[in-house]
Symmetry: C2
Subunit: 359 residues, 2 copies
């Protein structure tokens, strides 16, 4: 087992990464979830697979479960209200702990409910998807979607611990594994050229679920994210790099009603558009864009967004949280391994880039 | 005009207190609300009286209004969702500012919406009731009620400024003025004997709306609250003193469906019960309890809670946010001007105190 730390002073917390952490006889779960009253938030798919193991790992506690429908379309304020209703109905106090057992959708909603219940209760992430283990469970961003845009309602609320049992990936569908790899590739692109090179060498092993390759990818992704979050918790600066590709991705997800693209898939396609926009702005060489596209394609990520109209994508991007003074700020690459945030780009470059990729 | 400061490091903010701050030609509003995009949240009563003045004070800005129904029964998650919908519909960005124009209910909901929109946007309080000017607008507690209990859902989100125009009290009904005085008396009780003595001398002037007496009461209340919040923003310690009487008050409000008691009225009655409980625990002299009751009665606050059953009050108190490990923590007085928080009291004393006051 690896233990990393997100250094946030008195709110620092560990990320535990290892196989079989939910297995009988292991003590990490009980040691990290300290409350007597525990609310496990999960979805119909994951609860059936892992809720019994989580419950067994917490003997002597009061464990209540909320099982939500599976999928990004259910990441709504109404479902957060459902979680809050269960907390209230069980008379849970400020000393209760909310545990998110599942992927990013479950983690975002459980975390937001924990942030709002009695103005904030403890919260532990037990991510069971690759995307959640490498990205969404770390860093304290919680929230829900609004009909008009992704993650428009939420809170910063750091977990007390992240417990990533890599064995849970055994039951993850291939498509979801690939979606998670998009966020892994993101870390290489924005801040670590040598990790990007490692991914070029190991992408086939990752797709084949090679355990040691997956463990390295998860650990390195969490290390990089933990460092960025520790330096810029509330996204006043470099944390925005983590949104590389996401402004385009949110437009893709929103335009398709959160049904046909997984979030990680949209991020993969969005990163290609963002890389190409970096090129159009003269920041990134065309050969680098091709190299990025090659790795995304080898990861078997869908990259064709022509079914979405460019004008629709632009309108949806205007709802992005990075809009300031009416202008969309973009995360661009200056090379593979280095990102920047800028609102200073030619509008024509954005229009041309959108037209080249979207329909 | 007086200017106080809530000292919270980089999140410090001013409290402006004075007459006619909303009047034509004054610059304080425009100087403190810096955003281009402004959402004014108010209620049907207050919007008709003061929204035009607020709008006139913000020339050249984009000002959108949300007018909610008036009253504590409307402090719900659904109404916060309404505010969020308006923010989204107007495509407001992270650089927008939410302004609460009204009493505690408006301030709590507007602040919670500001806390959640895009994980937090700026927020300015323009309190128009005595209770909001002396208490709820300062300190960053935001939230809504749940059917099962008061303020169960919310966030800590400090305003960027509090602008208390004391002239708005001219239109405040007498009953609401008296309810606000309950919170003013609270400050004397928990931490300032000489302010309590001043209130004994000036309660009739306050009820008669003497401007200089009101100004002193508001300023001193804000000073005391600002000091406590600066020392203990997230209520790990002494900030809980500010909840003196509130555990009983929330039970009174909840038992009566938030319709027959104003919050401040319930706090007045709750403080008398809490003072009597302090006596039952041997912490406070009976003569002190009588002295407290005398001032509350002179403030014309309702103190008769016999219409509520003691057993119901106890059950509702168990939902209070101060419950820890299943035990209700109480704020008690050790003398007029000094409070403590304790879970170490005889259950029999609580039962007897409830039985003596409730039905």
């Amino acid at each position: 087992m690896d233990t990393l730390s997100v250094e946030l002073g008195s709110r620092s917390y560990p990320i535990l990464i290892g196989a079989h952490l939910l297995a009988r006889g292991r003590s990490e779960i009980a040691a990290r979830i300290k409350a007597r009253d525990v609310l496990v938030v999960s979805n119909t798919t994951v609860a059936a697979l892992y809720a019994p193991a989580l419950r067994a790992a917490l003997p002597g506690r009061r464990v209540v479960e909320v099982v939500l429908p599976d999928g990004e379309t259910h990441k709504t304020l109404d479902n957060v209200a459902r979680i809050l209703d269960v907390l209230v109905a069980n008379r849970y106090g400020r000393d209760a702990c909310v545990v998110a057992l599942g992927g990013g959708v479950v983690g975002d909603m459980a975390g937001f409910a924990a942030a709002c219940y009695q103005r904030g209760v403890a919260f532990v992430q037990v991510p069971t998807t690759l995307l959640a283990q490498v990205d969404s469970s770390v860093g304290g961003k919680t929230g829900v979607n609004h009909a008009a845009g992704k993650n428009l309602i939420g809170a910063f609320h750091q977990p007390a611990a992240v417990i990533a049992d890599t064995s849970t990936l055994d039951t993850l569908p291939d498509r979801e594994l690939r979606a998670g790899l998009a966020e892994v590739i993101k870390y290489g692109l924005i801040c670590d050229l040598s990790f990007f090179e490692w991914l070029e060498q190991h992408i086939d092993a990752l797709l084949a679920r090679d355990a040691s390759a997956l463990a390295h990818a998860i650990r390195r992704s969490c290390e990089l994210k933990a460092q960025i979050v520790a330096r810029d918790e509330h996204e006043h600066g470099e944390r925005a790099w983590l949104n590389f590709g996401h402004t385009f991705a949110h437009a893709i997800e929103s335009a398709t009603g959160y049904t046909s693209w997984l979030h990680g898939e949209a991020v993969g396609a969005g990163m290609l558009v963002a890389a190409d926009m970096s090129r159009a702005c003269g920041k990134l060489a065309a050969t680098e864009v091709e190299r990025i596209e090659r790795l995304l394609a080898r990861a078997k990520l869908p990259l064709d967004v022509r079914a979405i109209r460019a004008a629709d994508a632009l309108a949806l991007m205007a709802m992005d949280k990075k809009v300031q003074a009416g202008r969309i700020r973009l995360v661009l690459l200056t090379q593979i391994g280095a990102a920047c945030v800028t609102a200073d780009y030619p509008d024509e470059a954005l229009r041309a880039t959108l037209a080249a990729h979207f329909g």
